[in-house]
């Protein structure tokens, strides 16, 4: 393609990306470097239906002038990134100095919101992603070998978890695993432990969230792999059969190598999605046991007093996290691309 043609071809996309991706990111980064002005207080008398009391309130006239002068707020550099709600370098350093063995150090780190959230997010990402790829692959192979009359129906049902919106899906499961719900009671009966409660235990809540994550995302892997299976080279497969390869050997030496590029693709997308895990935490009311960076953003913006700078810093950290997570895969793809070229 000529350079000029390429330019006009890519222009709309590039503009849209600039407007809807690059500019918002710049704005978020700016927001994370500024905080609201120092508030000027005054003491006033408040009267409510109950009684009159002396109370503190913000002196709006005094803050007005400050806001006019610097509409963005105070420039604070990276201090929001380093405060206790985020990277908490001060607290980490202190925990290291006052440590009483490594166990104690990790305990103290685990008590800081960012690191606690990371512990869950990374476990979730690295457990769910491989499992959903394996499960999606198994469904794809199974469906592919079905009779063609059955295929349509089975494909529809296999896709259901992805069609149901994540919040609704997690709510349905949440009610089912309640200690008075169908699955919850079933588990209690199965393990003959009437006090068993999935929601009251951190470990079981994590498992529940991960099972949900696999259930919800496996159809995506399934669809991609199923499409890939339609392009399987028939002759290679047939020669393998003539050579007496078992079904397992066919899958191991013909099907999997053929689908490998798709596995990379699914892994990329799912690593990214799983790192931003959010809906199941809200849907399962699991915030007492599991938190993620996305949940922090939601929490900062949902309180009575909104913390915009803190939410922005969490957003930037999420972007950085995704970039770090994806870098090995991207580097590998780049190398493959170069070696082919």
């Amino acid at each position: 393609m000529k350079h000029k043609t390429f330019f006009w071809f890519i222009l709309p996309t590039a503009l849209a990306m600039l407007l809807f991706i690059a500019l918002p990111i710049v704005s978020v980064i700016t927001q994370s470097l500024f905080t609201p002005h120092e508030q000027v207080f005054k003491t006033v008398e408040n009267c409510t239906p109950f009684k009159c009391t002396q109370s503190t309130t913000i002196d709006q006239e005094a803050t007005e002038a400050l806001r006019e002068a610097q509409p963005l707020g105070r420039f604070v550099g990276l201090s929001i990134y380093l405060d206790r709600g985020h990277l908490a370098f001060g607290e980490v350093a202190q925990a290291w100095q006052s440590r009483d063995g490594f166990g104690d150090f990790f305990n103290k780190i685990g008590n800081l919101p960012f690191y606690r959230a990371m512990a869950f997010t990374l476990s979730y990402t690295f457990v769910v992603t491989p499992l959903l790829i394996i499960l999606g692959f198994m469904i794809a192979v199974a469906v592919n070998s079905l009779h063609r009359h059955l295929k349509g129906l089975v494909i529809f049902f296999s896709l259901l978890p992805m069609i149901v919106s994540p919040l609704i899906g997690s709510l349905v499961l949440f009610w089912m695993v309640d200690s008075r719900g169908v699955l919850g009671t079933g588990l209690q009966w199965l393990l003959s432990n009437p006090d068993l409660s999935l929601k009251a235990s951190t470990g079981l809540t994590w498992i529940m969230l991960m099972v949900y994550g696999v259930w919800h995302s496996a159809p995506f892997a399934f669809v991609v792999f199923y499409a890939g299976l339609q392009t399987l080279p028939k002759d290679t497969l047939e020669s393998a059969m003539i050579d007496g390869a078992t079904r397992w050997q066919q899958i191991r030496y013909v099907v999997i190598p053929h689908l490998m590029p798709l596995v990379t693709f699914v892994a990329l997308i799912q690593l990214m999605d799983n790192f931003r895990v959010f809906e199941p935490i809200v849907g399962f009311n699991a915030e007492a046991h599991a938190q993620s960076l996305s949940w922090f953003i939601f929490n900062d913006l949902g309180g009575e007093t909104r913390l915009l700078s803190s939410a922005s810093a969490s957003s930037v950290l999420t972007i950085l996290g995704v970039a770090i997570l994806l870098s090995p895969v991207l580097i590998r793809t780049w190398r493959d691309f170069n070696s082919k070229g």
Partner: protein
């Protein structure tokens, strides 16, 4: 003859009704607010006004949209329905206007105690009051042979008897969901212990003290008698537990008392055993472990004077004495003239009369509330001790307050 009478009577009633509902405005009205029956009744009454469009956006997520929707000029929302905690966010951002002129012009029917004044200026008009208090199962307490508790210590003793007699497995209930609800239970219990949230007159938090620890220990003791999933139970979920007959003693919002057992499938036992009491005290204190709340409406600052007048008129119309009828009276503890307390209002009145304190209207109280909501869950699960949990809350609050410019 009979038909004629009926027809006449209904015609007169309709005429009277329209006469009362006479409200004509000239301007735009758009109200954002929380979603529960009492507020829905107020919104519906505001929509009786003619001459201008009255739009409503009543949603449980109102706090996520009201500030943003009132910041622009002209603002999208001409009014926000808020409570004593959420008016602070609007005050902090300076998006609501003083109502003194409008009250003088259109608000003759409003009572003095409905006017919320801050620094001598009327900033909101309250229409209902709310508080948390005890609701219980009279039949279960009778079977257990215990008196209706008036303190949390008595409540624990009663719960113990109920559990030991095998009447119920988890006799205690309350909205203990991690987040806003759990933080509110801490606030209640801490106030009951006579605690102060901040060093007097400053935004410096001070809850990591003996009273704070005693507060957490009491909450932990209560949770031992709750459904093990208590950290996922908000008011809706605890209400469901009560309806299912699993709970005998519950700390609940007054605004839910009228509909507490009004649902399909609630057994007669639960319905007949339902009883309301006042709030409880704790640790020998005099102040009940609860907070008083009011709900009211505001008028946006960034709108034209015509729209502000229209909004004020429509909402004043919505809370006129005539809006109270058999249906609406039981929905809330109305602050409106002519309100006759119903049986369901007993708990809130008991709270108001026993010296309960209102939820504090401080600019930084919301930040402490958020910090409590996220940091206390570890303690409630037994992962850390009370002092560490409170130190965590203080650290989380301090970081947030520094960011917001409340602390240097």
């Amino acid at each position: 003859m009979f038909f004629k009478k009926v027809a006449m009577a209904s015609a007169m009633a309709i005429a009277a009704g329209t006469a009362y509902a006479d409200c004509s405005i000239s301007g735009r009205v758009n109200v954002v607010g929380n979603e529960f029956p009492a507020i829905q009744a107020v919104g519906a009454a505001a929509q009786e006004c003619t001459g201008g469009e009255v739009k409503l956006n009543l949603t449980a997520d109102h706090q996520k949209v009201n500030v943003a929707g009132m910041t622009g000029n002209p603002a999208e929302y001409t009014s926000a329905i808020i409570a004593n905690s959420s008016i602070v966010a609007l005050m902090n951002e300076d998006v609501i206007r003083p109502l003194d002129d409008l009250v003088a012009q259109y608000g003759q029917g409003l009572k003095k105690n409905q006017l919320i004044t801050i620094d001598g200026k009327v900033m909101a008009v309250a229409f209902m009051a709310n508080a948390q208090h005890l609701v219980y199962r009279a039949d279960i307490l009778e079977q257990a042979g215990v008196e209706v508790p008036t303190t949390y210590e008595e409540l624990l003793a009663a719960a113990k008897v109920i559990k030991e007699k095998g009447l119920m497995e988890n006799p205690v209930g309350g909205p203990f969901k991690a987040g806003w609800n759990l933080a509110q239970e801490f606030n209640n219990m801490y106030i009951g212990h006579g605690g102060e949230f901040f060093k007097t007159g400053t935004p410096e938090v001070s809850i990591n003290n003996e009273k704070g620890i005693a507060t957490l220990e009491m909450m932990k003791a209560l949770s031992e008698y709750m459904n093990p999933d208590f950290l996922t139970h908000d008011s809706n979920a605890t209400n469901a537990e009560y309806r299912a007959g699993n709970v005998a003693l519950m700390h609940m919002w007054g605004s839910r008392a009228a509909t507490m057992t009004a649902a399909e499938g609630v057994s007669d036992e639960v319905k007949n055993g339902f009883a309301i009491a006042g709030p409880l005290t704790v640790a020998g204190g005099d102040t009940p472990a609860t907070t008083l709340w009011w709900d009211g409406w505001t008028v946006s600052k960034n709108i034209s004077d015509e729209d502000a007048a229209a909004t004020f008129q429509a909402l004043t119309h919505a809370i006129r004495p005539e809006m109270l009828n058999d249906e609406t009276s039981s929905l809330a503890v109305w602050l409106i003239d002519g309100y006759e307390p119903t049986e369901a209002a007993k708990g809130v009145f008991a709270a108001a009369n026993s010296g309960s304190v209102p939820y504090p209207m401080l600019p930084y109280q919301g930040l402490l509330h958020s910090a409590l909501g996220t940091e206390l869950a570890d303690f409630m699960q037994g992962k850390e001790d009370a002092a560490t949990a409170l130190a965590d809350v203080e650290a989380a609050y301090t970081a947030a307050a520094k960011e917001k410019g409340f602390l240097q």
